[in-house]
Amino acid sequence: MSSTETEFRDLQSAATSHRGDRVFNRTITGAAFTALVVLAGITVFLGLQAIPVLQTQGLDFLTTSIWSPPDYGIWGMLYGSVLLSVVALVIAVPASLLLSVFMVFLAPTWVAKVLTNLVDLMAAIPSVILGLWAFYILSPVSEEWQQLLNQYLGWIPFFQNESGNFSGTPFTAGFVLAIMMIPIVTSVTREVLGRTPPELINAAEALGCSLWTMLRYVALPYGRGGLIGGVMLGLGRALGETIAVFFVLKIVFDPVNYYNVIESGGGSVATLIVAKFGEASGPYETQLLLAAGFFLFMMTLLVNVIANLIVNRTGRLQK
Protein backbone atom coordinates (compact mmCIF):
# COMPACT_ATOMS: atom_id res chain seq x y z
CA MET A 1 0.00 0.00 0.00
CA SER A 2 1.18 3.45 -0.76
CA SER A 3 -0.01 4.95 2.50
CA THR A 4 3.44 4.78 4.08
CA GLU A 5 5.43 6.28 1.21
CA THR A 6 3.29 8.90 -0.46
CA GLU A 7 4.44 10.29 -3.74
CA PHE A 8 3.23 13.90 -3.97
CA ARG A 9 2.17 15.15 -7.35
CA ASP A 10 3.60 18.45 -8.52
CA LEU A 11 0.63 20.82 -8.42
CA GLN A 12 2.06 24.29 -8.04
CA SER A 13 4.19 24.49 -11.17
CA ALA A 14 1.44 22.75 -13.08
CA ALA A 15 -1.10 25.31 -11.95
CA THR A 16 0.52 28.04 -14.00
CA SER A 17 1.81 25.87 -16.76
CA HIS A 18 -0.30 27.43 -19.52
CA ARG A 19 1.93 29.52 -21.75
CA GLY A 20 -0.44 32.47 -22.17
CA ASP A 21 -0.82 32.57 -18.42
CA ARG A 22 2.89 32.85 -17.88
CA VAL A 23 3.06 35.93 -20.10
CA PHE A 24 0.01 37.38 -18.35
CA ASN A 25 1.44 36.71 -14.89
CA ARG A 26 4.74 38.30 -15.79
CA THR A 27 3.10 41.41 -17.23
CA ILE A 28 0.87 41.88 -14.22
CA THR A 29 3.68 41.19 -11.77
CA GLY A 30 5.83 43.73 -13.58
CA ALA A 31 3.12 46.37 -13.36
CA ALA A 32 2.57 45.60 -9.69
CA PHE A 33 6.10 46.68 -8.95
CA THR A 34 5.54 50.20 -10.33
CA ALA A 35 4.99 51.45 -6.80
CA LEU A 36 8.32 50.03 -5.66
CA VAL A 37 10.10 51.42 -8.72
CA VAL A 38 8.68 54.90 -8.13
CA LEU A 39 9.52 54.89 -4.42
CA ALA A 40 13.04 53.65 -5.11
CA GLY A 41 13.39 56.16 -7.94
CA ILE A 42 12.39 59.07 -5.72
CA THR A 43 14.80 57.94 -3.00
CA VAL A 44 17.70 57.45 -5.39
CA PHE A 45 17.28 60.47 -7.65
CA LEU A 46 16.45 63.00 -4.95
CA GLY A 47 19.08 61.38 -2.73
CA LEU A 48 21.67 61.89 -5.48
CA GLN A 49 20.85 65.60 -5.42
CA ALA A 50 21.08 65.70 -1.64
CA ILE A 51 24.65 64.31 -1.56
CA PRO A 52 26.43 67.29 -3.20
CA VAL A 53 24.35 69.65 -1.10
CA LEU A 54 25.44 67.91 2.08
CA GLN A 55 29.02 67.98 0.78
CA THR A 56 29.00 71.74 0.25
CA GLN A 57 26.77 72.76 3.14
CA GLY A 58 27.66 70.00 5.56
CA LEU A 59 25.22 69.02 8.26
CA ASP A 60 24.53 72.72 8.67
CA PHE A 61 22.02 72.20 5.85
CA LEU A 62 19.88 70.34 8.36
CA THR A 63 20.77 72.12 11.58
CA THR A 64 20.89 75.82 10.71
CA SER A 65 18.18 78.08 9.48
CA ILE A 66 19.37 80.43 6.78
CA TRP A 67 18.75 81.04 3.07
CA SER A 68 21.26 83.59 1.91
CA PRO A 69 24.07 82.70 -0.48
CA PRO A 70 26.38 81.03 0.08
CA ASP A 71 24.85 79.60 3.24
CA TYR A 72 21.76 77.45 3.24
CA GLY A 73 20.08 75.56 6.06
CA ILE A 74 16.53 74.24 6.31
CA TRP A 75 16.26 73.54 10.04
CA GLY A 76 13.64 76.24 10.46
CA MET A 77 11.59 74.74 7.63
CA LEU A 78 11.80 71.18 8.92
CA TYR A 79 10.91 72.34 12.40
CA GLY A 80 8.17 74.58 11.00
CA SER A 81 6.56 71.65 9.15
CA VAL A 82 6.38 69.79 12.44
CA LEU A 83 5.07 72.82 14.36
CA LEU A 84 2.30 73.39 11.79
CA SER A 85 1.38 69.72 11.99
CA VAL A 86 1.22 69.87 15.79
CA VAL A 87 -1.11 72.89 15.64
CA ALA A 88 -3.20 71.03 13.07
CA LEU A 89 -3.28 67.89 15.22
CA VAL A 90 -4.34 69.81 18.33
CA ILE A 91 -7.35 71.13 16.43
CA ALA A 92 -8.14 68.22 14.13
CA VAL A 93 -7.82 65.20 16.43
CA PRO A 94 -10.44 66.19 19.01
CA ALA A 95 -12.68 67.55 16.27
CA SER A 96 -12.43 64.36 14.19
CA LEU A 97 -12.91 62.07 17.17
CA LEU A 98 -15.96 63.96 18.38
CA LEU A 99 -17.34 64.17 14.85
CA SER A 100 -17.01 60.41 14.40
CA VAL A 101 -18.49 59.74 17.85
CA PHE A 102 -21.46 61.82 16.78
CA MET A 103 -21.77 59.96 13.47
CA VAL A 104 -21.39 56.47 14.93
CA PHE A 105 -23.09 56.60 18.31
CA LEU A 106 -25.37 59.62 18.45
CA ALA A 107 -26.79 60.62 15.07
CA PRO A 108 -29.77 58.87 13.46
CA THR A 109 -28.73 56.70 10.52
CA TRP A 110 -29.84 59.12 7.84
CA VAL A 111 -28.00 62.02 9.48
CA ALA A 112 -24.87 59.88 9.73
CA LYS A 113 -25.19 59.01 6.04
CA VAL A 114 -25.52 62.66 5.02
CA LEU A 115 -22.59 63.59 7.25
CA THR A 116 -20.45 60.82 5.76
CA ASN A 117 -21.06 62.24 2.30
CA LEU A 118 -20.33 65.79 3.47
CA VAL A 119 -17.09 64.71 5.12
CA ASP A 120 -16.09 62.95 1.90
CA LEU A 121 -16.96 66.10 -0.05
CA MET A 122 -14.78 68.08 2.35
CA ALA A 123 -11.93 65.68 1.60
CA ALA A 124 -12.46 66.27 -2.12
CA ILE A 125 -11.94 70.05 -1.95
CA PRO A 126 -8.63 70.76 -3.71
CA SER A 127 -6.00 72.29 -1.46
CA VAL A 128 -5.53 75.27 -3.79
CA ILE A 129 -9.18 76.18 -3.21
CA LEU A 130 -8.72 75.85 0.55
CA GLY A 131 -5.68 78.11 0.21
CA LEU A 132 -7.69 80.70 -1.68
CA TRP A 133 -10.44 80.54 0.94
CA ALA A 134 -7.90 80.73 3.75
CA PHE A 135 -6.20 83.78 2.25
CA TYR A 136 -9.35 85.84 1.71
CA ILE A 137 -11.93 84.52 4.18
CA LEU A 138 -10.17 82.76 7.04
CA SER A 139 -7.15 85.03 7.50
CA PRO A 140 -9.01 88.20 8.55
CA VAL A 141 -11.20 86.22 10.97
CA SER A 142 -8.23 84.29 12.26
CA GLU A 143 -6.32 87.52 12.91
CA GLU A 144 -9.17 88.71 15.07
CA TRP A 145 -9.21 85.41 17.00
CA GLN A 146 -5.48 85.58 17.53
CA GLN A 147 -5.67 89.14 18.81
CA LEU A 148 -8.25 88.04 21.34
CA LEU A 149 -6.18 85.00 22.28
CA ASN A 150 -3.22 87.29 22.83
CA GLN A 151 -5.33 89.78 24.76
CA TYR A 152 -6.86 87.27 27.19
CA LEU A 153 -4.38 84.38 27.22
CA GLY A 154 -1.16 86.23 26.35
CA TRP A 155 0.40 85.05 29.62
CA ILE A 156 0.61 81.55 28.13
CA PRO A 157 3.94 81.39 26.20
CA PHE A 158 2.28 79.95 23.08
CA PHE A 159 0.04 82.99 22.74
CA GLN A 160 2.69 85.69 23.01
CA ASN A 161 3.06 88.17 20.20
CA GLU A 162 5.65 90.94 20.26
CA SER A 163 5.21 92.34 16.78
CA GLY A 164 1.50 93.02 16.89
CA ASN A 165 1.33 91.39 13.45
CA PHE A 166 -1.04 88.43 13.40
CA SER A 167 -0.90 87.61 9.69
CA GLY A 168 1.05 84.71 8.22
CA THR A 169 1.16 82.86 11.54
CA PRO A 170 1.63 79.14 12.20
CA PHE A 171 -1.79 79.24 13.87
CA THR A 172 -3.62 80.18 10.69
CA ALA A 173 -1.58 77.77 8.56
CA GLY A 174 -2.11 75.00 11.09
CA PHE A 175 -5.82 75.77 11.14
CA VAL A 176 -6.01 75.29 7.36
CA LEU A 177 -4.09 72.03 7.69
CA ALA A 178 -6.52 70.97 10.41
CA ILE A 179 -9.39 71.53 7.99
CA MET A 180 -7.61 69.30 5.47
CA MET A 181 -6.93 66.66 8.12
CA ILE A 182 -10.41 66.49 9.64
CA PRO A 183 -12.02 64.57 6.75
CA ILE A 184 -9.01 62.24 6.38
CA VAL A 185 -8.84 61.41 10.08
CA THR A 186 -12.62 61.27 10.48
CA SER A 187 -13.08 58.76 7.68
CA VAL A 188 -10.65 56.40 9.46
CA THR A 189 -11.87 57.00 13.03
CA ARG A 190 -15.49 56.67 11.96
CA GLU A 191 -14.78 53.29 10.44
CA VAL A 192 -12.74 52.17 13.44
CA LEU A 193 -15.42 53.19 15.95
CA GLY A 194 -18.09 51.70 13.70
CA ARG A 195 -16.30 48.36 13.84
CA THR A 196 -16.56 48.13 17.62
CA PRO A 197 -18.20 44.71 17.92
CA PRO A 198 -21.90 45.16 18.74
CA GLU A 199 -21.64 42.38 21.32
CA LEU A 200 -19.10 44.47 23.26
CA ILE A 201 -21.38 47.51 23.06
CA ASN A 202 -24.34 45.39 24.13
CA ALA A 203 -22.36 43.95 26.99
CA ALA A 204 -21.40 47.45 28.12
CA GLU A 205 -25.00 48.60 27.89
CA ALA A 206 -26.22 45.56 29.76
CA LEU A 207 -23.83 46.50 32.55
CA GLY A 208 -25.48 49.90 32.70
CA CYS A 209 -22.53 51.76 31.16
CA SER A 210 -23.12 55.31 30.08
CA LEU A 211 -21.97 56.54 26.68
CA TRP A 212 -18.86 57.97 28.32
CA THR A 213 -17.84 54.73 30.06
CA MET A 214 -18.64 52.75 26.92
CA LEU A 215 -16.30 55.00 24.89
CA ARG A 216 -13.67 55.12 27.59
CA TYR A 217 -13.53 51.41 28.37
CA VAL A 218 -14.78 49.69 25.19
CA ALA A 219 -14.72 51.65 21.95
CA LEU A 220 -11.53 53.69 22.35
CA PRO A 221 -9.31 50.89 23.72
CA TYR A 222 -10.69 48.50 21.12
CA GLY A 223 -9.99 50.84 18.23
CA ARG A 224 -6.85 52.44 19.63
CA GLY A 225 -4.50 51.19 16.92
CA GLY A 226 -6.79 52.25 14.11
CA LEU A 227 -7.34 55.65 15.68
CA ILE A 228 -3.60 56.31 16.04
CA GLY A 229 -3.01 55.10 12.50
CA GLY A 230 -5.72 57.37 11.12
CA VAL A 231 -4.24 60.36 12.92
CA MET A 232 -0.80 59.55 11.54
CA LEU A 233 -2.14 59.24 7.99
CA GLY A 234 -3.56 62.73 8.41
CA LEU A 235 -0.24 63.86 9.85
CA GLY A 236 1.60 62.53 6.80
CA ARG A 237 -0.70 64.56 4.59
CA ALA A 238 -0.22 67.69 6.70
CA LEU A 239 3.58 67.43 6.60
CA GLY A 240 3.61 67.31 2.83
CA GLU A 241 0.93 69.93 2.13
CA THR A 242 2.22 72.79 0.06
CA ILE A 243 -0.24 75.15 -1.52
CA ALA A 244 -2.81 75.73 1.21
CA VAL A 245 0.06 76.71 3.54
CA PHE A 246 1.77 78.80 0.88
CA PHE A 247 -0.95 81.46 0.88
CA VAL A 248 -1.27 81.93 4.63
CA LEU A 249 2.19 81.40 6.08
CA LYS A 250 4.98 83.93 6.01
CA ILE A 251 8.21 81.99 5.50
CA VAL A 252 10.86 83.16 7.98
CA PHE A 253 14.27 81.48 8.30
CA ASP A 254 15.72 83.51 11.13
CA PRO A 255 14.80 83.60 13.92
CA VAL A 256 13.13 80.19 13.99
CA ASN A 257 9.64 80.54 15.44
CA TYR A 258 9.73 77.73 18.00
CA TYR A 259 6.44 78.07 19.82
CA ASN A 260 4.79 81.47 19.36
CA VAL A 261 2.06 80.09 17.18
CA ILE A 262 0.27 83.41 16.84
CA GLU A 263 3.43 85.33 15.92
CA SER A 264 3.85 86.17 12.25
CA GLY A 265 6.31 83.92 10.45
CA GLY A 266 7.08 80.21 10.41
CA GLY A 267 8.37 77.48 8.15
CA SER A 268 7.38 74.55 5.97
CA VAL A 269 9.68 72.52 3.72
CA ALA A 270 7.04 71.85 1.09
CA THR A 271 6.09 75.51 0.86
CA LEU A 272 9.75 76.54 0.75
CA ILE A 273 10.24 74.43 -2.38
CA VAL A 274 7.39 76.08 -4.25
CA ALA A 275 8.20 79.56 -2.95
CA LYS A 276 11.86 79.42 -3.93
CA PHE A 277 11.53 77.41 -7.14
CA GLY A 278 10.28 80.33 -9.23
CA GLU A 279 13.11 82.58 -8.11
CA ALA A 280 15.86 79.95 -8.04
CA SER A 281 18.92 81.73 -9.39
CA GLY A 282 20.68 78.72 -10.86
CA PRO A 283 21.23 74.98 -10.86
CA TYR A 284 22.70 75.03 -7.37
CA GLU A 285 19.61 76.56 -5.80
CA THR A 286 17.44 74.09 -7.66
CA GLN A 287 19.64 71.34 -6.26
CA LEU A 288 19.10 72.76 -2.76
CA LEU A 289 15.36 72.52 -3.26
CA LEU A 290 15.65 68.96 -4.54
CA ALA A 291 17.67 68.10 -1.43
CA ALA A 292 15.02 69.74 0.75
CA GLY A 293 12.46 67.61 -1.11
CA PHE A 294 14.49 64.50 -0.30
CA PHE A 295 14.35 65.19 3.43
CA LEU A 296 10.65 66.05 3.22
CA PHE A 297 10.08 62.72 1.45
CA MET A 298 12.01 60.82 4.11
CA MET A 299 10.03 62.51 6.87
CA THR A 300 6.62 61.81 5.31
CA LEU A 301 7.61 58.27 4.30
CA LEU A 302 8.57 57.48 7.87
CA VAL A 303 5.30 58.82 9.27
CA ASN A 304 3.30 57.07 6.57
CA VAL A 305 5.00 53.70 6.99
CA ILE A 306 4.49 53.80 10.76
CA ALA A 307 0.85 54.80 10.26
CA ASN A 308 0.22 51.95 7.84
CA LEU A 309 1.96 49.42 10.03
CA ILE A 310 -0.31 50.43 12.91
CA VAL A 311 -3.45 50.40 10.79
CA ASN A 312 -2.60 47.07 9.15
CA ARG A 313 -1.76 45.39 12.42
CA THR A 314 -5.04 46.37 14.01
CA GLY A 315 -6.86 45.50 10.80
CA ARG A 316 -5.48 41.98 11.02
CA LEU A 317 -6.27 41.67 14.72
CA GLN A 318 -9.88 42.44 14.08
CA LYS A 319 -10.38 39.90 11.33
Binding site: M1, S2, S3, T6, E7, F8, R9, D10, L11, Q12, A14, A15, S17, H18
Partner: protein, 284 residues
Protein backbone atom coordinates in the same frame (compact mmCIF):
# COMPACT_ATOMS: atom_id res chain seq x y z
CA UNK B 1 -19.07 5.34 19.79
CA UNK B 2 -20.23 2.82 17.25
CA UNK B 3 -17.16 3.36 15.11
CA UNK B 4 -14.98 1.29 17.44
CA UNK B 5 -16.24 -2.00 16.08
CA UNK B 6 -15.76 -0.86 12.48
CA UNK B 7 -12.09 -0.25 12.99
CA UNK B 8 -11.49 -3.96 13.12
CA UNK B 9 -12.07 -4.14 9.43
CA UNK B 10 -9.07 -2.80 7.54
CA UNK B 11 -10.15 -0.02 5.24
CA UNK B 12 -7.73 -1.17 2.58
CA UNK B 13 -9.10 -4.66 2.64
CA UNK B 14 -12.59 -3.36 2.08
CA UNK B 15 -11.40 -1.31 -0.84
CA UNK B 16 -9.53 -4.17 -2.34
CA UNK B 17 -12.68 -6.19 -2.18
CA UNK B 18 -14.72 -3.40 -3.68
CA UNK B 19 -12.32 -2.96 -6.53
CA UNK B 20 -12.41 -6.62 -7.32
CA UNK B 21 -16.17 -6.64 -7.35
CA UNK B 22 -16.27 -3.48 -9.43
CA UNK B 23 -13.87 -4.81 -12.01
CA UNK B 24 -15.81 -8.07 -12.32
CA UNK B 25 -19.07 -6.23 -12.68
CA UNK B 26 -17.94 -3.69 -15.22
CA UNK B 27 -15.75 -5.89 -17.30
CA UNK B 28 -17.88 -5.30 -20.35
CA UNK B 29 -18.59 -1.57 -19.78
CA UNK B 30 -15.90 0.85 -20.99
CA UNK B 31 -14.45 3.10 -18.28
CA UNK B 32 -14.38 6.85 -18.95
CA UNK B 33 -12.56 7.99 -15.82
CA UNK B 34 -10.89 6.31 -12.94
CA UNK B 35 -9.08 7.37 -9.81
CA UNK B 36 -6.34 5.22 -8.32
CA UNK B 37 -5.51 5.61 -4.67
CA UNK B 38 -6.13 9.38 -4.50
CA UNK B 39 -5.10 11.13 -1.29
CA UNK B 40 -5.54 14.87 -0.83
CA UNK B 41 -4.02 17.41 1.56
CA UNK B 42 -4.79 21.02 2.40
CA UNK B 43 -1.51 22.37 3.69
CA UNK B 44 -0.55 19.70 6.26
CA UNK B 45 -4.06 18.36 6.81
CA UNK B 46 -4.94 15.16 5.03
CA UNK B 47 -8.60 15.27 3.99
CA UNK B 48 -8.91 12.25 1.72
CA UNK B 49 -7.19 8.89 1.73
CA UNK B 50 -6.87 6.16 -0.84
CA UNK B 51 -9.91 6.81 -2.98
CA UNK B 52 -10.23 4.50 -5.98
CA UNK B 53 -13.39 4.74 -8.05
CA UNK B 54 -14.12 3.86 -11.66
CA UNK B 55 -16.69 5.86 -13.64
CA UNK B 56 -18.19 3.89 -16.56
CA UNK B 57 -18.97 5.75 -19.78
CA UNK B 58 -22.41 7.32 -20.06
CA UNK B 59 -23.40 6.56 -16.53
CA UNK B 60 -24.34 8.67 -13.52
CA UNK B 61 -22.29 8.17 -10.37
CA UNK B 62 -23.44 9.75 -7.14
CA UNK B 63 -20.98 10.61 -4.37
CA UNK B 64 -22.79 10.67 -1.04
CA UNK B 65 -21.75 11.14 2.54
CA UNK B 66 -22.08 13.51 5.48
CA UNK B 67 -20.67 17.07 5.38
CA UNK B 68 -16.91 17.28 5.62
CA UNK B 69 -16.26 13.79 4.30
CA UNK B 70 -14.21 15.16 1.40
CA UNK B 71 -16.56 14.36 -1.49
CA UNK B 72 -16.52 17.96 -2.80
CA UNK B 73 -12.73 18.01 -2.52
CA UNK B 74 -12.60 14.74 -4.39
CA UNK B 75 -14.73 15.93 -7.29
CA UNK B 76 -12.48 18.99 -7.66
CA UNK B 77 -9.45 16.78 -8.14
CA UNK B 78 -11.15 15.23 -11.18
CA UNK B 79 -10.79 18.36 -13.34
CA UNK B 80 -7.74 19.86 -11.61
CA UNK B 81 -9.59 22.65 -9.82
CA UNK B 82 -8.22 21.40 -6.51
CA UNK B 83 -4.74 22.68 -7.32
CA UNK B 84 -5.97 26.28 -7.42
CA UNK B 85 -6.16 26.35 -3.64
CA UNK B 86 -2.85 27.47 -2.15
CA UNK B 87 -1.19 24.70 -0.18
CA UNK B 88 -3.09 21.94 -1.96
CA UNK B 89 -1.32 18.62 -2.42
CA UNK B 90 -2.25 15.29 -3.94
CA UNK B 91 -1.01 11.75 -4.35
CA UNK B 92 -2.29 8.99 -6.62
CA UNK B 93 -3.51 9.02 -10.18
CA UNK B 94 -6.57 10.29 -11.98
CA UNK B 95 -7.00 8.53 -15.32
CA UNK B 96 -9.11 10.02 -18.06
CA UNK B 97 -9.42 7.81 -21.14
CA UNK B 98 -6.60 5.79 -19.74
CA UNK B 99 -4.00 8.51 -19.23
CA UNK B 100 -3.06 10.44 -16.10
CA UNK B 101 -4.44 14.01 -16.08
CA UNK B 102 -1.77 15.10 -13.60
CA UNK B 103 1.11 14.10 -15.88
CA UNK B 104 3.57 16.98 -16.28
CA UNK B 105 2.92 17.47 -20.00
CA UNK B 106 -0.84 17.81 -19.55
CA UNK B 107 -2.33 21.30 -19.77
CA UNK B 108 -5.02 21.65 -17.08
CA UNK B 109 -6.96 23.92 -19.42
CA UNK B 110 -7.49 21.00 -21.86
CA UNK B 111 -8.58 18.72 -19.04
CA UNK B 112 -11.15 21.22 -17.84
CA UNK B 113 -12.51 21.52 -21.38
CA UNK B 114 -13.16 17.77 -21.56
CA UNK B 115 -14.36 17.52 -17.97
CA UNK B 116 -16.90 20.25 -17.31
CA UNK B 117 -18.25 21.27 -13.94
CA UNK B 118 -21.40 22.71 -12.38
CA UNK B 119 -21.19 24.20 -8.91
CA UNK B 120 -23.36 24.32 -5.84
CA UNK B 121 -24.22 28.00 -6.30
CA UNK B 122 -25.35 29.05 -9.80
CA UNK B 123 -22.56 31.25 -11.18
CA UNK B 124 -23.58 32.76 -14.50
CA UNK B 125 -21.29 35.59 -15.59
CA UNK B 126 -23.12 38.78 -14.62
CA UNK B 127 -21.61 40.93 -17.35
CA UNK B 128 -22.95 38.67 -20.12
CA UNK B 129 -26.38 37.94 -21.60
CA UNK B 130 -28.04 34.52 -21.49
CA UNK B 131 -26.73 33.77 -24.97
CA UNK B 132 -23.33 35.17 -24.06
CA UNK B 133 -23.19 32.89 -21.05
CA UNK B 134 -23.93 29.79 -23.09
CA UNK B 135 -21.20 30.69 -25.56
CA UNK B 136 -18.78 31.96 -22.91
CA UNK B 137 -16.99 28.62 -22.68
CA UNK B 138 -16.13 28.77 -26.37
CA UNK B 139 -14.85 32.29 -25.99
CA UNK B 140 -12.91 31.64 -22.80
CA UNK B 141 -11.29 28.45 -24.01
CA UNK B 142 -10.63 29.80 -27.49
CA UNK B 143 -12.51 26.85 -28.98
CA UNK B 144 -13.74 27.25 -32.54
CA UNK B 145 -17.22 25.96 -33.26
CA UNK B 146 -19.51 27.22 -35.98
CA UNK B 147 -23.30 27.55 -35.81
CA UNK B 148 -23.48 29.46 -32.58
CA UNK B 149 -27.25 29.72 -32.84
CA UNK B 150 -27.55 25.96 -33.08
CA UNK B 151 -25.28 25.45 -30.10
CA UNK B 152 -27.32 27.87 -28.02
CA UNK B 153 -30.59 26.16 -28.90
CA UNK B 154 -29.24 22.65 -28.57
CA UNK B 155 -27.53 23.11 -25.21
CA UNK B 156 -30.35 25.12 -23.70
CA UNK B 157 -32.75 22.40 -24.84
CA UNK B 158 -30.55 19.71 -23.28
CA UNK B 159 -30.49 21.71 -20.08
CA UNK B 160 -34.29 22.02 -20.17
CA UNK B 161 -34.24 25.78 -20.34
CA UNK B 162 -34.85 26.56 -24.01
CA UNK B 163 -38.62 27.06 -23.82
CA UNK B 164 -38.32 29.44 -20.92
CA UNK B 165 -35.68 31.74 -22.41
CA UNK B 166 -35.87 31.44 -26.18
CA UNK B 167 -37.55 34.84 -26.48
CA UNK B 168 -35.06 36.70 -24.32
CA UNK B 169 -31.67 35.33 -25.15
CA UNK B 170 -30.18 38.78 -24.93
CA UNK B 171 -31.49 39.50 -21.44
CA UNK B 172 -29.04 39.72 -18.56
CA UNK B 173 -28.32 36.34 -17.01
CA UNK B 174 -28.78 37.79 -13.53
CA UNK B 175 -32.53 38.26 -14.18
CA UNK B 176 -33.18 34.51 -14.22
CA UNK B 177 -34.38 32.62 -11.15
CA UNK B 178 -31.94 30.46 -9.21
CA UNK B 179 -33.15 27.24 -10.83
CA UNK B 180 -33.00 28.77 -14.31
CA UNK B 181 -29.52 30.11 -13.61
CA UNK B 182 -28.36 26.64 -12.63
CA UNK B 183 -29.75 25.15 -15.85
CA UNK B 184 -28.12 28.00 -17.79
CA UNK B 185 -24.82 27.08 -16.17
CA UNK B 186 -25.37 23.46 -17.23
CA UNK B 187 -26.00 24.61 -20.80
CA UNK B 188 -22.84 26.70 -20.60
CA UNK B 189 -20.85 23.66 -19.52
CA UNK B 190 -22.35 21.56 -22.36
CA UNK B 191 -21.50 24.10 -25.06
CA UNK B 192 -17.84 23.10 -25.06
CA UNK B 193 -18.78 19.46 -25.69
CA UNK B 194 -17.41 17.88 -22.52
CA UNK B 195 -17.19 14.13 -22.18
CA UNK B 196 -17.63 14.23 -18.44
CA UNK B 197 -19.76 16.59 -16.36
CA UNK B 198 -18.99 17.05 -12.68
CA UNK B 199 -21.82 18.39 -10.53
CA UNK B 200 -21.08 19.57 -7.00
CA UNK B 201 -24.42 19.55 -5.15
CA UNK B 202 -26.12 21.26 -8.10
CA UNK B 203 -29.53 21.35 -6.45
CA UNK B 204 -28.73 22.25 -2.86
CA UNK B 205 -29.55 25.94 -3.40
CA UNK B 206 -32.72 25.28 -5.41
CA UNK B 207 -36.44 24.78 -4.80
CA UNK B 208 -38.00 21.30 -5.29
CA UNK B 209 -39.49 22.19 -8.70
CA UNK B 210 -36.15 23.27 -10.14
CA UNK B 211 -34.50 20.24 -8.56
CA UNK B 212 -36.84 17.88 -10.42
CA UNK B 213 -36.16 19.66 -13.71
CA UNK B 214 -32.42 19.37 -13.22
CA UNK B 215 -32.72 15.69 -12.33
CA UNK B 216 -34.59 15.11 -15.57
CA UNK B 217 -31.82 16.95 -17.37
CA UNK B 218 -29.23 14.72 -15.73
CA UNK B 219 -31.05 11.56 -16.84
CA UNK B 220 -31.26 12.90 -20.38
CA UNK B 221 -27.62 13.95 -20.48
CA UNK B 222 -26.37 10.60 -19.25
CA UNK B 223 -27.34 9.11 -22.60
CA UNK B 224 -24.50 11.15 -24.08
CA UNK B 225 -21.94 11.87 -21.40
CA UNK B 226 -20.60 10.63 -18.10
CA UNK B 227 -21.92 12.42 -15.04
CA UNK B 228 -20.46 12.50 -11.55
CA UNK B 229 -22.65 14.19 -8.99
CA UNK B 230 -22.05 15.06 -5.36
CA UNK B 231 -25.27 15.16 -3.41
CA UNK B 232 -26.53 15.45 0.11
CA UNK B 233 -29.91 14.26 -0.90
CA UNK B 234 -30.15 10.47 -0.80
CA UNK B 235 -33.45 10.35 -2.67
CA UNK B 236 -31.74 12.28 -5.43
CA UNK B 237 -28.98 9.69 -5.62
CA UNK B 238 -31.58 6.95 -5.86
CA UNK B 239 -33.46 8.83 -8.58
CA UNK B 240 -30.58 9.73 -10.85
CA UNK B 241 -27.54 7.56 -10.20
CA UNK B 242 -26.53 4.22 -11.72
CA UNK B 243 -23.69 3.83 -9.24
CA UNK B 244 -23.09 5.29 -5.83
CA UNK B 245 -20.00 5.75 -3.66
CA UNK B 246 -20.36 6.44 0.05
CA UNK B 247 -17.68 8.69 1.61
CA UNK B 248 -17.09 8.98 5.33
CA UNK B 249 -14.62 10.77 7.56
CA UNK B 250 -14.52 9.65 11.18
CA UNK B 251 -13.41 12.22 13.72
CA UNK B 252 -10.00 13.56 12.89
CA UNK B 253 -9.27 10.98 10.18
CA UNK B 254 -9.25 11.76 6.47
CA UNK B 255 -12.27 10.84 4.40
CA UNK B 256 -12.38 7.60 2.46
CA UNK B 257 -14.81 5.50 0.48
CA UNK B 258 -16.66 3.06 2.73
CA UNK B 259 -18.63 1.33 0.06
CA UNK B 260 -19.33 1.69 -3.64
CA UNK B 261 -21.38 -0.14 -6.21
CA UNK B 262 -24.67 -0.05 -8.07
CA UNK B 263 -27.08 2.39 -6.45
CA UNK B 264 -29.65 -0.33 -5.91
CA UNK B 265 -27.11 -2.34 -3.93
CA UNK B 266 -25.89 0.55 -1.83
CA UNK B 267 -29.38 1.58 -0.85
CA UNK B 268 -31.11 -1.80 -0.93
CA UNK B 269 -28.50 -4.19 0.34
CA UNK B 270 -25.44 -2.42 1.77
CA UNK B 271 -22.71 -4.65 3.11
CA UNK B 272 -21.31 -2.14 5.58
CA UNK B 273 -23.17 -1.26 8.77
CA UNK B 274 -22.19 2.41 8.42
CA UNK B 275 -23.63 2.59 4.92
CA UNK B 276 -26.85 1.07 6.17
CA UNK B 277 -27.01 3.61 9.01
CA UNK B 278 -26.32 6.51 6.68
CA UNK B 279 -28.73 5.63 3.90
CA UNK B 280 -31.42 5.10 6.51
CA UNK B 281 -30.81 8.55 7.91
CA UNK B 282 -29.38 7.50 11.28
CA UNK B 283 -26.53 10.04 11.03
CA UNK B 284 -25.08 12.67 8.70
Amino acid sequence: MATAEYDDVRIDDVQELEREIASQRDANVPIEMETRDISVWFAKRKVLEGVSIAFPKQSVTALIGPSGCGKSTFIRTLNRLHELIPGAALAGEVLYEGSDIYAPEVDPVHIRLKIGMVFQKPNPFPSMTIRGNVLSGLKLSGMKRSNHDDIVEQTLTSAGLWNEVKDRLNAAAGDLSGGQQQRLVIARALAVNPHVLLMDEPCSALDPGSTLKIEETIRELSKEITIIIVTHNMQQAVRVADNTAFFLATDGNPGHVVEQGPTTEIFGNPRDQRTLDYVNGRFG
